[in-house]
Symmetry: C5
Subunit: 257 residues, 5 copies
């Protein structure tokens, strides 16, 4: 559970709502036609730009990537593959068969090794998977950056529509203020969707993509070492560069008695 995404999102909304309540009722900031222009229009533009399937898989990925924390910490992974290397030294490759792991990429890597495929094929298959992971994240990031571009533009379109309507009915001076307030609301909605939701989620997707790809490269590297029969301690030493310095203590597996 990546609690901070939720905390950030809620904190941003709470701060904004409190500021809105300072001098007016929340209803002042609600305008359904305006919401329809910005949200509906952004959705319409997004459907022109991308495929429906692409948009939906982008939203699914954003949910899991932004709100959960399923990406393992590199230090834990280094320890886990260190234990795997010790198992292989003692029992051979087939000893891996009984290892249970929470990481689906590591599971696939182990399966490929246990199935007896040659090392180059294992490495190529894992590399292809990593590339697809990267592309899936990139497309999702592109969808959210696209929303972050379109929402403020639709907001401006809505404000222009509102201004034109207001300017054509200037007869009643007392209505100018509220009409203009309503016109500005779409700009507010567009800026909010872009700046508080779409663009931060795109940045988070980029960060998570970097993390997940780094973990997959770590696993691929360790599998190469294990299949080559490297010493577990030497392998751990090499993999330590994937771990931030503060977490590097206690990475090495205990010496095989």
């Amino acid at each position: 559970m990546d609690i901070l995404t939720l905390v950030g999102l809620l904190a941003g909304i709470v701060i904004l709502v409190l500021a809105m309540l300072a001098n007016a009722s929340l209803l002042t900031f609600l305008n359904l036609p305006g919401l329809a222009i910005v949200v509906g229009g952004t959705l319409a533009v997004t459907l022109i730009k991308f495929r429906l399937a692409t948009v939906m898989s982008a939203f699914r990925l954003a949910m899991t990537a932004a709100f959960t924390d399923r990406v393992a910490r590199p230090a834990d992974l280094v320890r886990e593959v260190g234990r795997l290397a010790q198992v292989v030294r003692k029992e051979g490759i087939l000893g891996l068969e009984n290892h249970t792991t929470g990481d689906p990429f590591l599971r696939k890597a182990i399966n490929l090794c246990v199935d007896g495929h040659p090392p180059e094929l294992v490495e190529e298959a894992l590399a292809q998977d990593t590339q697809q992971t990267q592309e899936r994240y990139e497309v999702a990031e592109r969808v959210f950056r696209g929303i972050g571009d379109s929402a403020p533009a639709l907001g401006m379109l809505g404000t222009l529509v509102g201004l034109v309507q207001m300017l054509n009915t200037l007869d009643d001076p007392s209505s100018i203020g509220p009409a203009m307030a309503v016109a500005l609301l779409t700009t507010l909605y567009g800026a909010f969707i872009a700046q508080m939701i779409a663009l931060p989620l795109a940045d988070k997707l980029q960060l998570k993509a970097e993390d997940e790809v780094r973990n997959q490269v770590l696993i691929t590297t360790s599998m190469r070492n294990i299949l080559r029969g490297d010493n577990p301690r030497v392998m751990t030493e090499l993999l330590s560069s994937f771990v931030v310095p503060e977490h590097r203590t206690g990475l090495a597996p205990e010496r095989e008695g």
Copy 2:
């Protein structure tokens, strides 16, 4: 038929029209001189920037790319070339002659093979075709991005012209509002053309270019394998990386009895 482009476009227009009708008649939003400035001016600028032939072929490509769905799904292509590989194994290259396919690039590839050209020449000819496909899409994308740049600029020019006219005739206060509304309309037109039509179409062209190029690379790769006499199942295995994971079941051709 890529129905979503049309749905998105219509949805965007309907939402906007409904918002316009909320407080005013649609006629309020129609200003023919303003439309002439934005549409005519953008067209004029586009003619300076590009050649007439380039602009027209960009529009044609955008129509087919955005509104039709002629790009085959990779999974179908993998199955089709899998069957081709089986045919070649049984009957030799000339067995391909009777194969009918809906994909013009695959048709060309088959013709080149059947004509007995050496493999390197087949591959080079197909690679040249792919490069031209890519360039044709890129030029079309550039045309639409150019329109997406020029339309808002022309809209602003129109608004400036309207503002100057209005400011010179301030005598009648009651006319200020409507005159300013008319001035703002060109900005509205420019933003609409750029944000709802030109830029989303440019993005769609980019997406379709990626799809079509990926398909052509898939076909070129498979032809190389077929001419080399690779095992159909091994080839399918290799090509599966072109297919998203969810569609990978049932790719391999049935085992030759």
Copy 3:
């Protein structure tokens, strides 16, 4: 004569002038001090940014590149070098001496061949020429993009000057409107120069550079083939990738009886 550049430019101006005349006299839109700020200021800034010689050669190149159509069509070039290859096959290299061509680059290439220079030197000399062509276009494009950056900035400077002047003389309310109209004119001038002239010309220069460089590469490639003594029909086949598919019929030279 690249008539479309002129048509586009005139059409843009006509549309804008008609829109101006709709509600006011053209004189309303003429403000000499404002023109002096935008045109003079942009020129001044351009002189700081570039050298006088650079600016002048950029303007000369823009004139020939934007308003004339001296770049040959690739299909015509392929036919011409096809004929040259046939001549060389019959009469040897010296047979080229009598060939008259409208393309200065092809002329130079022929001269280099006839002079008996070794093939590598011919190719290197032509490649150097192509690089210089490219650099000359790039500098010219940079000059026009620079004007496209500076003109709107100078326009905004002029509007700020006008606003400050107006705000200091608010005593006479009836003068506010016209004074603000005058202030806005410099923004209008800047946007017009950038969006209708400088930036489209920069784009056209980019397009023409691509065309001219592609032609020169085509000629250099064909000269390599001719000096190597390749079969004219094979050479034409190879060069056909420089030609858009629609124009590829009838490229090959008639078979030598």
Copy 4:
């Protein structure tokens, strides 16, 4: 102590405060809800974009990088490694053991050499450290550029909220001015945070990263030379390209008597 960062920051604030005091009390420029929107909102967005640990380590790095001057001058480093090379020539690698240095990277390099690791391993370990230094700076720079993007956006959001509130309460004309002033304050806060703090710090981080990486490359290069047993004077000559010309006198170690 990089005193100039502090001087610049204080000077900027003093100038702005003096300008504020010119015509109004400082209290006019204080609006706590506005501050909450901009500072709180930017923090919330930053927490969505990055991890809490990332943000905190970015702030820590910015403090040390911007306000201290711990990066050694290249000239001093060249002199120090020159002396080390002389020591190694006289006493062998183990002679380095007694050398005390203020630079932690040089300390690590010496330790690796003294521990008797092979030269390639020493170089690879140092190169990995340099890469991590670079990545740590890059992430910190990204955090501050992100703040520089979000703060003005949040400022605009706050101003829109304030404008909508004001426009709904136009009854009392005398309150319009102050209400609008308050609405503008969030834009002011956002621009101040971005332009005077976040973006300059991001630039400074970039500069310091370049300095620190250059020093680490210098040290890695010198260690390679020392382990190869190069002549100290020749090594100094080679390293002099890391030093700006003005500081190059007296780099070479004194000739070993």
Copy 5:
């Protein structure tokens, strides 16, 4: 003396001053607190972004690069190194010792040759010098682009401060205009500094860097040829690609009688 930089700068200022004088006294456009915010604030931000030494050397380089014309014309350089090559042919490398040249880089190249260093070392030393020239220009360009970014931002900050002050003192309607005029002045200052001074100087620095680096590459290339003992006429032929076509006549040294 690069007179055009000065002419451009003065012309820009004169045009702007004349426009200011058109409807108001120059004093209207002078606001010392506003100047302090923009100039002082930009300076403060620049000190945070860069080091004091960096900023000062950037200003020094901008002065010499923008206002003097010390970069030699390539045609003159080609003639000079052509004469050097003839000298070396007749008298050997040591014959260069008496050659006096105005170009410091050529002087250094000659000294390196005369000192009897091996050709590779001469070339490497010159290449290092060229890289440092390029880096010095790039840092200076970055400083001026930084100023061009900060000045308008500070101008906007100043205008916001002025607007807030004005909006809080709306009691006296007659003061609104002048107060708003003063507020706009900082935006004017910021735009002027960025658009008329900082950004054009950055562009000029880029241009001069390209010229100087091209000259240094020309000299390095010629030294390689001279040390290899190439024929002076052949060398001149090769170097002619550094010279624009119009200046290529008379490059070759007279034939050694």
